[in-house]
């Protein structure tokens, strides 16, 4: 005789229907991160339309202008281009590359993870060993080798970053799928004679969506960082296209005479990456309230 199994007196039953979003917003860092990212995306998306200056217009007679001179809020760069316009324009590329590269990793990683988790056997094993192998290379190593050996540009940089970041996604998805495959509903789906791909897309994919979302957000942050590394080292985005990384690379030449040229893009990278990181952290906690804090 026992009373233990009476419905547990939950501490907050009234809020049991609290949505993930609310839980997310209750974390201050996450909310700030979301606000930063939204602000940044809006500024980069709309800013260039609202500014008087074109990010590509060169004015060799107005180079290295100080901030707030001649109608240039942040001054001009080494080619006399408006720095604010350029930073926002660069942000479009940096953010876009981050998001596209993330999509590639999530797509490839999700695909490999689901397939490998669903088909145990040689296929699954082989795929996961390949993932392990790729993970043995420090990612910057892999990235730079690829970047240095191909012709640089927006498309190649995006693909390369995407292709060096998918392995962790594959691992994550693989382990969730393996766990899911133990569950009854998958067995039921199989018993019903559903085709494999329908089980994978219809049953498994929705169930790995939550961890995938978290991983995706964190990968955006990582991809933005990686893009900046590669571009900084001269193997990434090439002028005249600006990205925060290559603006930094060009600006370091003038670190002594015009330090703000290098400081601002670096700051933007930090803000964007921190924003996405904070969102990712918040999402993870919100989706998994009993998970580890911090």
């Amino acid at each position: 005789m026992s009373v233990e199994s009476f419905p547990a007196a939950s501490a907050a039953p009234a809020r049991a229907n609290t949505t993930v979003f609310h839980r997310f917003l209750r974390r201050r860092m996450a909310a700030v991160g979301l606000a930063l990212v939204v602000l940044l995306v809006l500024a980069c998306a709309l800013g260039p339309f609202l500014l008087r200056h074109d990010p590509l217009t060169i004015n060799m007679r107005g180079r290295f202008l100080l901030p707030f001179s001649d109608g240039h809020v942040l001054g001009t760069d080494e080619m006399g281009r408006d720095l604010l316009a350029r930073i926002l324009d660069a942000g479009r590329y940096s953010l876009l590359i981050g998001i596209l590269a993330m999509s590639i990793s999530v797509f490839v990683g999700g695909f490999v993870g689901i397939v490998a988790g669903f088909y145990r056997g040689i296929l699954g094993h082989g795929l996961m060993r390949f993932v392990d192998g790729m993970l043995c290379f420090p990612s910057i190593f892999l990235l730079l080798t690829l970047a240095a050996l191909t012709s640089p540009g927006v498309v190649t940089t995006t693909i390369i970053i995407g292709l060096t970041a998918w392995m962790s996604v594959a691992r994550l998805v693989h382990s969730s799928v393996q766990e899911l495959c133990q569950r009854e509903f998958i067995a039921a789906a199989r018993a019903l004679g559903l085709r494999d791909w329908r089980i994978m897309i219809g049953e498994l994919l929705p169930n790995v969506a939550a961890p995938l979302c978290v991983a995706a957000t964190l990968i955006v942050a990582r991809a933005i960082l990686l893009e900046s590394y590669v571009s900084y080292l001269g193997y990434g985005i090439q002028p005249p296209v600006a990205s925060w990384g290559n603006m930094l690379q060009k600006a370091q030449q003038y670190f002594n005479s015009a330090p703000w040229l290098a400081i601002l893009p670096g700051l933007m990278i930090t803000i964007a990456v921190a924003g996405f990181n904070a969102i990712g952290d918040g999402l993870r906690d919100a989706l998994n309230p009993r998970g580890r804090p911090g």
């Binding site: 080494e78 001269g234 193997y235 690379q249 670190f255």
Partner: protein
């Protein structure tokens, strides 16, 4: 931009004398200035060290194998050549007692028999005596087709090499070949007593501890950091005055500049100071900045076989729309580059001064294109017969000044209806088939056109030198002009310098008119030394201005 062997042997005075002599003797010259450098000097105890910052790492010290310009900084100080090149362009005897000539009997009248007398008092760094066997071994190895020598150019003509005595060696050339004297001024003599026994040419042991006869012994190499050279107290010439010379590898130009200003290095050589930072460095206390001309001519090479570029009007319009003034006032500050219209350095005797001067005139450029039938399309880009005036421009990714230049061009050319896209690549990708087989549209490149000691540009403009069409040579412009072909053939067929000069003047005129490339500037190396360091002397005969470390010292 690649700076490679044999770039600098053609400074004007040397060449002038050389050809005067050729004209006089009909074949080879006697150097009036073949002074004996081996006047015994009172030996000064070497003291102090100098740290020279370079942005490439010296790694190859084997005198018989391929090397880059920064390796030369070691080679020229550890090894000796039979004779060397002075800054004035004279050949100065080093291991040889005298530079051979017809007049002193070193070279036979027909130019085929060479007889070299060697100094008896030279020892290798390991104490072994230097003899004629070493010279024989060096030349034979360089000529050996199965040995990985960088080039057999010239050496392959040597026949019947023979050691007459320990201090005399002689050989026969298969045919008269004047440039061989200059080529030998680049060939460091290798120790036969060490290398004769090494069967595997890839054995790194000699590379890692080379033994020469030069003013400095090889000290040590800390990979990725520095190479140190130590004074050779048994050096057969004057000097050295420094106890130690260090080539400090600092991988990027900005780091190099920073460390020079902060005093961590005493001199900056390869690749020197970036032009846009020269003024900043000049302002720093305690340092001197040198603007030393080099052999590079910077151009925008055009792939003339592209349909856009086949029309000469397009090439001319592009040149008219090139804002050289802004480039040389803003991107490359005054004094750091010298605008040019020719492919030859101004120091060359064949350099033509009065080529038509470039002018910047966007209106004229537009008018020219209009006249030639290139009509602006809906997007403002001109087209003719279905060909859009759109093409790409390439250069080495990361060369920030050229990138700035490209972006300026993009804007200027857009205004005459040209769509220019930028397509840069790392050097290893750029200089392969992309460049050699003319796969580019246009490319900014620094060239050294003459080969060895001659201004002859056959390798660049002869229609037989187009690799894309199976030729051998570097006519990557795919420039094909029968008139130029004829002149080139005539130019190498005569020894009359005045005649040749006229021919090359004519070629410069035609090329300037045809514009297979858009000429920009002749380069200057911007190098720096600390105050109090003396001995730095630019020498167009070598590709690194650390050729004479034996003369460097600190002022008392």
């Amino acid at each position: 931009m690649p700076r490679l062997p044999f770039q600098g042997i053609f400074s004007r005075p040397f060449r002038r004398r050389f050809l005067r002599a050729v004209a006089a003797v009909g074949l080879l010259n006697l150097f009036s200035a073949s002074v004996f450098a081996q006047v015994p000097a009172t030996r000064v105890e070497p003291e102090g060290q100098v740290v020279i910052g370079v942005a490439q790492e010296p790694t190859r010290f084997h005198p018989l194998q391929r090397r880059t310009e920064v390796d030369d900084a070691v080679h020229l100080n550890v090894f000796s050549t039979l004779w060397s090149l002075s800054p004035e362009g004279n050949l100065v005897p080093d291991l040889a007692v005298e530079v051979p000539s017809v007049e002193n009997g070193g070279i036979s009248a027909d130019g085929l028999e060479w007889r070299i007398k060697l100094r008896p008092d030279v020892t290798w760094h390991d104490g072994a005596p230097f003899t004629a066997e070493d010279v024989k071994f060096t030349i034979e190895t360089l000529a050996n087709p199965s040995y990985p020598s960088p080039s057999r150019h010239g050496h392959e003509l040597v026949r019947d090499i023979e050691v007459v005595s320990p201090t005399e060696v002689r050989w026969r050339l298969e045919r008269p070949f004047a440039p061989y004297l200059a080529i030998l001024a680049w060939a460091g003599i290798a120790p036969q007593h060490i290398l004769a026994g090494v069967t595997d040419p890839a054995d790194p042991s000699f590379n890692n501890s080379p033994v020469g006869t030069g003013p400095f012994r090889f000290g040590e190499r800390r990979p990725g950091d520095h190479v140190s050279l130590v004074a050779n107290d048994k050096y057969h010439g004057q000097g050295p005055f420094l106890k130690q010379a260090v080539l400090k590898y600092i991988p990027d130009q900005i780091g190099l500049k920073t460390q020079f200003i902060t005093g961590a290095v005493d001199a900056v050589l390869i690749p020197g100071i970036a032009p846009d930072l020269a003024k900043e460095v000049e302002r720093a206390p305690g340092v001197k900045v040198h603007y030393s001309p080099n052999q590079f001519v910077e151009i925008i090479a055009l792939n003339t076989q592209l349909p856009q570029f086949q029309d000469p009007a397009v090439r001319e319009a592009l040149y008219l729309a090139l804002d050289k003034n802004t480039v040389f006032n803003e991107i490359y500050p005054t004094g750091t580059k010298r605008p040019t219209e020719s492919f030859l350095p101004e120091q060359s005797w064949a350099y033509k001064k009065d080529l038509p001067e470039h002018r910047f005139d966007l209106g004229a450029a537009r008018a020219l294109l209009d006249k030639a039938g290139w009509k602006p399309g809906a997007d403002g880009i001109r087209e003719k017969d279905g060909t859009r005036l759109a093409f790409s421009i390439s250069t080495i990714a990361g060369d920030h000044l050229r990138e700035q230049f490209q972006q300026l061009l993009q804007q200027d050319w857009r205004s005459i209806g040209v769509d220019l896209s930028i397509k840069n690549a790392p050097s290893a990708a750029l200089w392969g088939d992309f460049w050699r087989k003319s796969q580019f549209d246009s490319i900014i490149v620094g060239l050294i056109v003459p080969i060895a000691s001659d201004p002859d540009p056959s390798n660049r403009f002869g229609s037989w030198a187009i690799q894309a069409r199976g030729g051998t040579g570097l006519n990557t412009f795919q420039y094909d002009n029968p008139e130029v072909d004829r002149l080139l053939r005539e130019g190498v067929g005569t020894f009359d310098r005045e005649r040749r000069k006229q021919i090359y003047f004519e070629i410069q005129d035609i090329v300037r008119r045809d514009l297979p490339y858009l000429p920009l500037v002749q380069g200057r190396s911007i190098e720096g030394t600390k105050n109090g360091l003396v001995g730095y002397q630019p020498n167009l005969g070598y590709r690194v201005n650390a050729w004479n470390l034996r003369d460097w010292r600190w002022e008392k």
